[in-house]
């Protein structure tokens, strides 16, 4: 019976109902999108790290896992690695950020290809000169780049030599030497990769390296990729919380306003219900159900919309952003939206529940 009244009330003001649902939908989408982007990008980074094919990652002392490393290690260290038992390939890279979330990576193309099992070229081929650049398919799609084109990155023209399938460490690859010189890192590396004869030897090799290289950060690929989590990115968790907080405030305000006007508009109805013996709890119950229904409908819409934002991200900026579908967050986002909405419903609900019956009946 109550649900019928709630439903009829919502149907009675279709525009207000639709706008409330839309606002809650946007709220839920915001949450799902920011979480989906964070997790999606971390996962994508981890996937590309795995795609390098290395069993062990070595980073110089004092560098952050995610972010920029400004403390390079000497290139000669590769010789040392190659002499270690079980190490089959040792190669290194230099990375340089180019704004946004993208970096240019300088690689020894030959050696890196051997380690990662070879790049798959969709167009073009390997480097032929020092000013060549190879980009992955997502970057090419986003920036509308084709082989043979010249693109300007780091205040310098690069000749696009090839477009490769994504998933192998970097999106933009240039020759190691060129990037070393450009960034004043001649003879230096920011990261080194080791491939072993058998991954089963990983721990053994790590232990031995750690004993010899004090302060160096030495990770198995499992350890390294497990570092790609929200809590390991400085400020990311706080950022997510801020966005969620803002969306909750939006949801709260919308529900507050929508219910507040509804309560004013239904003053007389509240009086009628009270004259029939409805208690304040009964009145509150109606409004809370209305709120819950709006929020559930809004959350459903928000979930649908989050597929829309994902589609937009993957279509228009696939190289910059990766959004993951996060079903485990659907109930969480719904719960958060519901909590915000119920708080928004509290004052209008209280006002209606306390409304004097006689005054309400006299209300025009």
């Amino acid at each position: 019976m109550l649900n019928k009244l709630v439903l009829e009330n919502l149907k009675h003001r279709p525009v207000r109902t639709a706008l409330s649902i839309l606002a809650i939908g946007v709220e839920v989408t915001m949450m799902l999108t920011v979480v989906g982007l964070s997790e999606g990008m971390l996962e994508d980074s981890a996937r590309r790290a795995r795609g390098a094919g290395a069993d062990i990652w070595v980073r110089p002392p004092g560098s952050a896992v995610i972010g920029l490393s400004s403390a390079p290690m000497p290139e000669k260290i590769l010789e040392f690695f190659r002499k270690q038992p079980h190490v089959v390939i040792a190669t290194g890279s230099v990375a340089h950020p180019i704004g946004g979330v993208n970096t240019v990576t300088g690689l020894d193309f030959e050696e890196f290809s051997r380690m990662c099992g070879g790049f798959k070229f969709l167009e073009g081929g390997p480097f032929q000169g020092p000013d060549d650049i190879i980009v992955d398919e997502r970057y090419a799609r986003q920036e509308n780049i084709r082989v043979g084109q010249t693109i300007r990155i780091m205040n310098r023209d690069w000749y696009v030599r090839g477009v490769v399938e994504p998933g192998k460490l970097a999106r933009l690859i240039v020759p190691l030497r060129t990037l070393q010189e450009l960034t004043g890192n001649t003879g230096k590396l920011t990261q080194a990769y080791l491939k072993l004869d058998d991954p089963a030897n990983t721990q053994k090799v790590i232990d031995s390296l750690k004993a010899q290289l004090k302060d160096y950060q030495i990770y198995s690929i499992e350890e390294f990729t497990s570092l790609f989590s929200v809590s390991n990115v400085p400020g990311l968790r706080a950022f997510i919380h801020v966005i969620i907080g803002l969306s909750v405030v939006v949801g709260f305000l919308v529900v507050f306003l929508s219910l507040y006007t509804a309560v004013l508009e239904r003053t007389r109805e509240v009086g009628i219900l009270k004259s029939l013996g409805a208690s304040p709890a009964y009145i509150l119950n109606i409004l809370l159900r209305e709120t819950a229904l709006l929020t559930l409908a809004g959350s459903l819409l928000g979930i649908v919309l989050s597929f829309g934002t994902r589609w937009a991200v993957m279509t228009f900026i696939p190289a910059s952003l990766t959004q993951k579908t996060v079903p485990e967050w659907w109930p969480i986002a719904t719960g958060i939206a519901l909590a915000g909405a119920l708080i928004g419903a509290a004052y209008p609900g209280w006002k209606a529940a306390r409304q004097d019956a006689i005054e309400a009946l006299a209300y025009e």
Partner: protein
Amino acid sequence: MSEASTIIRIRDLKKVYHVGEVDVPALRGVNLDVERGEFLAVVGPSGSGKSTLFHIIGGLTPPTSGSVVVNGRDVARMSDAERTEMRKREVGFVFQKYNLLPTLTAYDNIAIARHIARGSPELDGDFRQILELLGIAHRLHHKPSALSGGEQQRVAIARALVNHPAILLADEPTGNLDSRNSEAVLTLLRDLNKRLGQTILMITHNPEAAAYADRIVHMRDGRIVEFDNLDQT
């Protein structure tokens, strides 16, 4: 008049409304007894306190002083929650403006009164009989906006009776109706009173309407000024 058959006993009832700094005395000492099964009309000039009296009998607002014993219990001593309980079953209100919920059908307007009183969702035989009497059975699935004033008021009467209240309080039930519909509603109230023994209190400005009642009381300045017995002055 035996004690047992008195359903309403009001003694020295006073009600003062506080409007800002000003005290508005709406009732200044009302004494009234109503017998079970009686059909009583309350007449009097505007502002004489008729509606206020009904609101107190029906538990919508507490009295300032005095005693108002309805069906054996003193409304003056009830808490808000007790008065809410009382409104569920002891009284049924009918208003001049029908006061149906606009978003629900006529049937659901009646059903929600039953739901509030936690009655069974099934309408019982007695109530079916009332619906027959009201002659609105075929209009129940319309919303109020699709019903005429007379039909809306009959739905409102059905809603007021669905929980079998001891007392029906009708505040100018024909005030918004044309003479034909007024007559129908008044005849209906009299039938409910005569056939089912429903106790009815009705406020009216119209002497013809008052004539349908067994007894008429006059109010003036918050007091009952005279009692009539069918013979009108």
